[in-house]
Symmetry: C2
Subunit: 393 residues, 2 copies
């Protein structure tokens, strides 16, 4: 069921360019800078392999009308995102547009066999519904550090049983296509690069909020993973030596202060102590609180909830000052903020970062919220594996 | 006086490979992967331009003996390093070996005209002594942030009068050759990459100690400067909001705790308060203390001096934890430590970093002292401009 891939570096470049959208033959030939005859031959070979097709005439730019080329309509990537208590699976086309998706509650702590098995099952279902399309590859996002070379999670305190489980090889063996696995923050950064605000920048920092906090670095136009694919792993930076205990077993981690679970924990404490009517009423009614409850209370004007959000944002801002000074990105994109709290979060983060960073690092650096919602991870997972599939052999 | 440069990308690659040392024709042809005839033609053209020469027969690997190629012996780069109260100038050959150097005390606060003028003068003197060699280019290291695109210092509180002074264009106009300017930590990282421990690593973090603290990032085999050439600028990260006042006007900067001047300040305070006999005696004898005095007291067993060094190292380690978790380098190289205190410094930094970083980031990451002494900056400055000179037009 494997699909034919590019035969050489020029074909790979053509496919990557077309992944961003259709182009006229003339534009594409200019962009790759190949001699005309060579260009035609490579496009013909990609067409014969079912990877590229003609999409009709291009808009005229004067002179002879050029035809429009695009990734063949039959090319499909699979995307699997193992998230906070959820499994999301999608099929995309060769331009990484999500064509079909299925999401369901699933706690990754049930273990990798069950989760990976269910992901393969859902991919099979989506494929069948689409007429048994072939998959060119499947990208997988996992909620913790991943040893990318091994295609398996490395140390992940939040994911017992996943350590070194061969996620990539298991799915590849089941589906017979290339599979790439990375951590969710890196995958979302790739999604932003393909379809979000990051599209316009060669150097940006993506920060993923949620129960777990992580970041992804796009440097010089490519995902930067570091020497052991550990780059961006900032959730367990220690802010204080005597702070709240983190799920990783250490005190005072960024995540233990600013993760969703940490905010919910503090909100429950405040509600029980009678310090917030809004949170107290909700806790009494539902028996528990969620991040959505905290966000709703904050946007509704509850001062305790607002303080919780602002304190988290301030701490996040303090960490961002270091990171931004260190790598000097062109923009910071923040994803995963609970509904409604984005503006408060952003205002506080900006005030800390702009006050404390060096002018060279932040003189003109925007800090913005992602506008991709949960598609960031699905598009990013497709992008992840397409980078491998659309690479020269 | 400009030298001819490479005419195309293949010639540039040949020159960069030879910059690392002589190679046999056979090896070099393999390394660049050019067809034999094309390879011969490019080498012939580089030879005709006086950039490459034959250095005699290569050691036999069996079969027909290949000849050894190298950068032509007449190629010279200039290196200018404006440092803590010093100006150092050198000439290197095309493999960036220092052939001649001159250093003198010079306070950069006298202003850019005087410093740049003196650097040009010393370069001229070294050139004359070497038989009026032509310079292929000059690399310049400055002790503060540099807007690399402009070839000029940006905000530098420690360097009044230097803001936006056209260092690159001034020297280029004087000498008629390409000039590249960058901050000293970046330049030293390049020196480590060329001639130091960094030579074996594609991803490393270089940390420069001294009055000013900075860092340079080699990522994926190249110096990473960030979106506005501000990457690595960590000296003014704020450790506490109520810490000692920094030269930049803000309280609690890393530099205000761990810079040489900060340690000397604390040592003087301790000496005056009678808390250290060693430091007190030295202060009484010399009327002042230097970082070398503090280092000597620490290595001599003075507990106050040792505590100062250890406290600085611990704080530096805490900052390194963030940086290392964030970019996941293969190794951290620390340069600029005062004589003798390296081992104490390193032990303390390691204990903090290994205790607090994620295993993926630091599982096998060495932290070592630079073994390049002050050649790091001179070799790095030559490397900086050679990257430009040995690039395709």
């Amino acid at each position: 069921m494997t699909i034919v891939g590019p035969e050489n570096a020029d074909q790979a470049r053509l496919l990557r360019l077309l992944r961003d959208g259709p182009r006229s033959r003339v534009e594409l030939a200019d962009a790759v800078g190949l001699p005309r005859a060579r260009f035609t031959a490579e496009v013909d070979r990609l067409t014969a392999q079912g990877l590229v097709e003609t999409a009709g005439p291009a808009a005229s730019r004067g002179g002879r009308r050029s035809s429009l080329l695009r990734i063949a309509g039959q090319v499909r990537f699979g995307a699997v995102v193992v998230g906070d208590g959820r499994l999301d699976v999608a099929l995309t086309d060769g331009e990484l547009t999500v064509l079909a998706r299925h999401g369901e509650p699933l706690d990754a702590r049930v273990g990798p066999d069950a989760v990976v098995g269910r992901a393969v099952e859902v991919l099979g279902k989506l494929r069948a519904e689409a007429g048994l399309v072939r998959l060119a590859g499947v990208g997988v996002a996992l909620p913790g550090p991943v040893a990318v070379r091994d295609g398996a999670p490395s140390v992940a305190p939040a994911l017992p049983g996943w350590h070194q489980f061969p996620v990539r090889d298991t799915i590849a063996a089941e589906l017979g296509c290339p599979v790439q696995v990375d951590n969710d923050a890196n995958v979302m950064a790739l999604g932003e690069q393909h379809a979000g605000t990051g599209r316009a920048f060669d150097d940006f920092l993506y920060v993923k909020l949620g129960n777990a906090i992580g970041s992804g670095l796009i440097l010089g136009g490519a995902l930067y993973r570091g020497a052991a694919s550990g780059a961006g792993d900032v959730g367990h930076l220690q802010l204080t030596e005597d702070g709240p205990l983190c799920g990783c077993g250490q005190p005072g981690c960024l995540e233990a202060y600013c993760g969703d679970a940490a905010l919910v924990r503090d909100a429950v404490t405040a509600a029980r102590a009678g310090r917030s009517t809004a949170l107290g009423d909700r806790l009494a009614a539902a028996g528990t609180l969620t991040m959505a409850d905290v966000a709703r209370a904050a946007t509704g004007g509850d001062p305790v909830a607002q303080t919780l959000v602002r304190d988290a944002a301030r701490r996040l801002g303090q960490v961002l000052v270091s990171l931004v000074s260190f790598v000097n990105p062109a923009i910071v994109i923040i994803g995963g903020a609970a509904p409604g709290i984005g503006p408060v979060l952003l205002a506080e983060i900006r005030s800390v970062v702009y006050r404390r960073s060096t002018p060279l690092a932040t003189g003109s650096m925007p800090i913005v919220l992602s506008d991709l919602d949960d598609r960031a991870a699905l598009v990013g997972a497709a992008r992840l594996v397409s980078d491998q599939v659309f690479a020269a052999c």
